[in-house]
């Protein structure tokens, strides 16, 4: 049954299995295990990013397609929900319309980009996606009347999903309110879509993608229409990314270019995929968890470290919480160094 849910793609390493299980449990029970606004927020982000990164892995790890437009698709989903909620007023219909419209738009745009440019070399495809993504970012900033420009949009979502909605009292010291429901919406949505992705990469379609990644020329000559497969992968990936964006928008109740469209997020996604392990899907889980936690808590950790080395020359300066980026950078380098095939690849090899 579990194997079937995982589409036969088991973690294939005891340690990996254990880690994944831990993450799953932690996320499933996050509001109870780690009560507190910030930690639940972090958990929700992890869920969204797992999904986002997994959708990227479908394209990159399985299809070998390097795209820099993934945040654009993410943003389409997010803005879909935001705009629908702004214009249709608060309500579930707005969420659904926004999410579906976002996903469809993302798929269509992916289709168009794919049709145009998946024929060219990988690196040029990457550059074209970069170009399109930055053009869209410019567009969002320019159409400030519609999109709120640089400032983004704040909007309302159904009351049942906000902290203002209370039902019952407390369970284990956790207030039962709309925020909790919202969290489980994000968690459940991400989980289901992740399992769907897992199924897709283990289907015959997924195998073809891998073959194309390995040798597109040969794949074409045994009869696979490479462009069609790549385009399909890009579309699916884009649509799922958009759905991840919608979940994020529902969670945050805010969208803005820095939050869903920036190149920084694109880099985060890449990093998560690679740290976790490309072409494994489970890598997304590990990469997203590690990185989101690091981004959120590294600073606090360093605060402590910095205080403990006070008096030593230069060290406190380097360990200053404001220098957290420095250490994140070092973490980047070390992780690529020590996990050349990602954490998942490493764990599987050393089983």
């Amino acid at each position: 049954m579990i194997v079937k849910l995982l589409s036969g793609d088991t973690p294939r390493s005891k340690i990996l299995g254990a880690i994944l299980l831990m993450i799953l449990v932690a996320l499933a029970l996050a509001p109870f295990l780690f009560p507190g606004i910030r930690s639940v927020d972090t958990a929700a982000r992890i869920c969204v990013f797992i999904l986002l990164v997994a959708s990227y892995d479908l394209m990159l790890g399985y299809g070998g397609i390097v795209s820099f437009a993934h945040t654009m698709f993410f943003g389409m989903g997010a803005y879909g929900v935001a705009l629908a909620s702004t214009h249709m007023g608060r309500g579930y219909d707005a969420l659904i319309v926004g999410a579906v419209a976002g996903a469809v738009l993302a798929a269509v745009v992916a289709f168009l980009i794919g049709l145009f440019s998946l024929r060219v070399r990988a690196i040029f495809f990457a550059m074209i996606t970069l170009a399109v993504a930055s053009a869209v970012a410019v567009l969002v900033s320019q159409l400030s009347g519609l999109t709120g420009g640089e400032d983004g949009l704040n909007y309302q979502i159904p009351r049942e999903l906000t902290p203002a909605f209370k039902f019952g009292g407390e369970v284990m010291g956790v207030k039962l309110n709309g925020k909790l429901l919202n969290y489980y919406l994000v968690f459940g949505g991400s989980l289901i879509l992740f399992l769907v992705l897992l199924r897709i990469v283990n289907s015959p379609f997924g195998r073809v993608l891998q073959a194309i990644r390995e040798n597109d020329f040969r794949a074409e000559s045994v009869g696979y229409r490479v462009v069609n497969y790549r385009t399909a992968a890009t579309c699916i990936s884009a649509a799922v990314a958009a759905l991840a964006g919608s979940l994020y928008a529902i969670w945050l109740r805010y969208v803005g270019p820095d939050t869903v469209l920036s190149f920084e997020i694109m880099v985060d996604i890449l990093l998560m995929v690679v740290i976790g392990g490309m072409g494994t899907m489970y890598g997304a889980v590990i990469g997203a968890t590690v990185l989101v936690v690091a981004q959120n808590y590294l600073q606090e950790l360093m605060e402590v470290a910095s205080n403990s080395v006070e008096g030593v020359p230069l060290l406190p300066q380097l360990l200053d919480a404001d220098r957290w980026l420095l250490w994140l950078g070092i973490l980047f380098i070390l992780s690529v160094y020590f996990f050349p095939t990602g954490v998942v690849g490493r764990l599987r090899a050393g089983k």
């Binding site: 040029f124 990093l271 420095l326 994140l328 950078g329 690529v336 050349p340």
Partner: protein, 343 residues
């Protein structure tokens, strides 16, 4: 049975299009200039825009030249290239501040000497940094683009933060050396004097790089090494050494670019190089990977087009570079003068 065989392969006459094809990119720059002339009503405006556009192109070329070596020839995507530009600028500007007596003197010779010293210092610093970068960060990821993007991004963040630790988070404002301030005006057009320096440096660099790549085997070794390093070593070349050398050279060029750009902007920040990266990528890619000539033409095109479009239709300036890239890739998916086949 048909005729007895002859040994030479059959050759047909090449069509005109086939013959002219390789030369087309060279014609693009003048073509754009003529187009500009046709659509800009005022002659003096056209002159100003054209000359300063070409000079800006030179500056972009200077910054992109290191990237052409490293990305084009070695196939290493160094996202950290931008931070080398920043480091170059910081080192160069620090040197210039120390040499204030030389830069504030109204003597062109003294001023240029100061700039030269700043450039040398910056190139040494970034070259050294490049050496460390290659050893520590890049070496394990040759051939893996994605990992290159990531580790160099990591390196970028680290170095950027180190700049902040060393120089502080504030932007630093500087003035150009005395004799390089202001503009010269001619025929109703104005051209910043500093841009003339950029043109000179850019031309020297262009010719120098061409010379080195054409008259030594270095370019060949690197290109061959990217395809099949084992074989290059089996021929007897110490590929590692060459790779390190080229990477260091690319980094030093970034340092040079940093000084030039810092003096142009007259304000430097740790992010300044990073902000130029997209433009640099565009130039390297539309030029065709590995081609110094392509990079040069690409940079001039970008410089000119930016100016023309910003003048004719400012709104379109937002995406003019991107549109240029897309147009060129549609025309030639490998870039204008590809030396290396893109993966």
């Amino acid at each position: 049975m048909s005729a007895a065989p002859k040994h030479a392969p059959t050759m047909a006459k090449m069509s005109f299009a086939d013959k002219i094809g390789p030369w087309l990119p060279m014609l693009l720059v003048p073509a754009i200039m003529v187009l500009g002339l046709a659509s800009i009503p005022s002659m003096s405006s056209w002159l100003t825009l054209t000359v300063s556009g070409l000079a800006m192109g030179m500056m972009i070329f200077i910054m992109a030249s290191g990237m052409t070596l490293v990305f084009g020839l070695m196939d290493v995507i160094n996202f950290g290239h931008g931070v080398f530009i920043s480091v170059g600028a910081f080192v160069g500007v620090s040197v210039l501040m120390v040499l204030a007596s030389m830069t504030e003197a109204p003597s062109l010779v003294l001023n240029l000497l100061a700039v030269l010293l700043a450039i040398i210092a910056a190139a040494i610093a970034t070259g050294g940094l490049g050496w460390a970068f290659e050893k520590v960060i890049v070496k394990p990821v040759y051939g893996a683009h994605l990992k290159q993007i990531l580790v160099t991004m990591g390196g970028l963040i680290v170095v950027e933060q180190l700049i902040v630790v060393l120089w502080g988070p504030e932007e630093i404002y500087i003035l150009r050396p005395q004799a390089l301030q202001g503009a010269i005006t001619f025929a109703g057009a104005a051209l910043e004097k500093y841009r003339l320096v950029a043109v000179a440096v850019g031309l020297v660099l262009f010719l120098g790089m061409r010379y080195v790549l054409r008259s030594t085997k270095i370019g060949l070794i690197v290109r061959a090494g990217v395809e099949n390093g084992e074989m290059v070593e089996a021929l007897g070349y110490r590929l590692r050494l060459v790779f390190v050398g080229v990477f260091v050279a690319g980094s030093a060029l970034a340092g040079l670019g940093g000084v030039m750009w810092g003096l142009y902007q007259e304000v430097i920040t740790a992010h300044m190089g990073q902000q130029m990266m997209i433009l640099i990528f565009i130039v390297v890619i539309i030029g065709g990977l590995g081609s110094v000539e392509g990079c040069f033409i690409g940079a001039l095109l970008v410089g000119l087009l930016q100016n023309y479009i910003a003048f004719i239709e400012p709104k379109a300036a937002l995406i003019s570079n991107i549109a240029l890239m897309v147009a060129i890739l549609m025309w030639r998916p490998q870039g204008m003068i590809p030396v290396v086949k893109a993966k």
